[in-house]
Assembly symmetry: C2
Homo-oligomer: 341 residues x 2
DNA sequence: TTGTATGCGTTATCAT
DNA sequence: ATGATAACGCATACAA
């Protein structure tokens, strides 16, 4: 208890009349311990307000009590939603959240992540899409020996390493909603190439279009990169089509907002002249005018589940498997109507 | 180089034929060092890819190489903007970013932060508004012995601990813009009580109104809490006024978006029936329809400056002082027009 | 300018 | 069930 003023394990040991190892056992909840001595030690701990030093533990265990959020995500709302979900779970634990963005375009991205993991040795790692789809990164975590959970639009790893949603079905449902409103010329603003989420969502769109007996038209699909601006550009191409589409499904809310913006610029009324559906249900969706019909992606819920897998006592297995698949549902607001006759 | 596979300072010392202390001096850039031996050590370091173990350093130095972002901020865009600015600077350093939200409503908030600081012992702390205005927290950082920088809407600490903007003047400019467009009945949606930013911005509004020879009317000011929904509620009260205001200045973009939403619901045209100005220039501002005239708050720039203060070599002083005050400027878009005759 | 001994606070090993 | 002693990897005090 000298310089820093913080009580150490030695103080506890001395005051409780035991060795530091015994105190260590109490802290780490070792099973082989006399109940009485444990109580005595815990009493001392509570009395002097002893808190184990994380740095010392990290050195001895070669493992930090940190959860790392590694991502390269273009969507601000999503990153924040994930952070909130994670932090909700971490709040009452000994873990803290480390945020580590990466550049998926960089050729040495994997090496950079390796250096990061070797240096920080986090207890667990949360991988966000799109880099969550990178198997090399998952292998890296395994190799370093830290837990990891990947977040994705479809399950592509074992249950203990995965929280995923059913994007394909959700999009199919959204497009069917458009179909049943009477739309036929339904275009899509797809996500960027190489994103699993983009692929799944496009599949859902194409399935619905096929089932409806409408052939999938290449020209009806414009690609964006999940940003507002790319949504604008894609919408411009789509609205130049003749005949004009009566509805657009966008792979995320940002791009849907861009499409809405372009429609406005062109004097089109939404939803009367053009119906729009987005994906994510980030806050922008309900703040837009008209409020955007969209697919709710349970981001924070998924992040909470991921955090539980990361810091949970159970080493995987158990009765997970049920709640690993999170269903996205259609939120009907005001951006969809019957097509103009 | 045993179990973990990572080379240690001992490996470097052995291979370079020097003591660990010499290696340590090289790492910490000790000035008193023979150039030749330094080069030799550095060659070995580069060759075997040695990286100092942060956990061991943290234990020995009683200080972690982490920058902590402590906040309780309702504005998602702002939090993310700050993170981006911080991370840009931290990217090429040995520092990592720890995100630690707190609950400013909790009675034991200060204690919680103290425990956090005592446990993690971060190298530096970034305090966001509104809790950046809490002097007790700043004192805490000092006491623990870690650097801190407070972000605020006006300078309320020494330069080395502060990055601030000129909210009051900026708002005065925004309101003058409305005035010069011919508006007289200009209402305000203020920020929550107890926020320095809310206070500064309201002062700016009131000054401009006074100077214009219009008395400040209490009923013209509705309070929100920086959220979209509170902006809606405030706008409803304001638009119920008779005669109706021709312009509204909102203390942030979120609330401005809420006001725009309400105007739409009531069938009012913006800007023809109602002009609106926001504050922040978060992405929502340009994505709205019509694009929102707003005051640009240089969040990321301020965060970068803060990060530099936190990890910079210079211990304050020097030629700072100039770039600590960040000017907010009016971004003119399409939500302002002359009032209807 | 460089090396030696010791400390940082915890966990692991191997006794007892 | 508990304890003495040695890691863990680096930094500091003090010598040389």
């Amino acid at each position: 208890m000298k310089k820093t003023g913080q009580p150490t394990i030695n103080d506890v040991a001395r005051l409780a009349g035991v060795s530091k190892k015994t105190v260590s056992r109490v802290i780490n909840q070792s099973p082989l311990l006399n109940g009485e001595t444990r109580d005595r030690v815990q009493a001392v701990i509570a009395e002097i307000g002893y808190i184990p030093n994380p740095q010392a533990r990290a050195l001895a265990l070669r493992r930090n009590f940190l959860i790392a959020l590694i991502h390269d995500n273009p969507n601000a709302q999503m990153v924040l939603g994930v952070q909130q979900g994670l932090l909700e779970v971490l709040r009452d634990t000994e873990f803290e959240l480390l945020v580590h963005p990466v550049d998926r375009g960089a050729p040495d991205m994997t090496d950079e992540v390796r250096r990061f993991l070797e240096r920080q040795r986090p207890y667990g790692v949360m991988l966000l899409p799109p880099i969550s789809e990178n198997d090399a990164l998952a292998a890296l975590c395994d190799q370093i020996g830290c837990r990891y959970v990947r977040m994705g639009s479809a399950p592509f790893d074992e249950a203990e390493h995965m929280v995923s949603s059913n994007d394909r079905e959700a999009v199919r449902g959204a497009v069917e909603h458009l179909l049943s409103a009477g739309h036929r010329r339904i275009c899509m603003i797809a996500g960027p190439h190489g994103f699993r989420s983009a692929h799944e969502r496009q599949q859902g769109y194409e399935e619905a279009i096929e089932v409806a007996g409408i052939g999938v038209q290449r020209t009806w699909i414009a690609q964006g990169d999940y940003t507002f601006e790319s949504g604008m550009r894609a919408a411009e191409r789509l609205l130049d089509l003749s005949p004009r589409p009566t509805a657009i499904f966008a792979s995320n809310d940002e791009m849907a907002a861009g499409a809405l913006h372009v429609a406005r610029q062109r004097g089109l009324e939404v939803p009367d002249d053009l119906s729009i559906i987005g994906f994510d249900d980030t806050s922008i969706a309900s703040h837009l005018w008209p409020p955007l019909t969209t697919v709710r992606w349970p981001i924070a819920t998924m992040a909470r589940a991921a955090a539980l897998k990361l810091v949970g006592d159970d080493d995987g297995g158990e009765e997970d498997g049920e709640d690993d698949l999170f269903v996205s549902t259609l939120i009907r607001r005001a951006s969809v109507a019957k097509p103009a006759a």
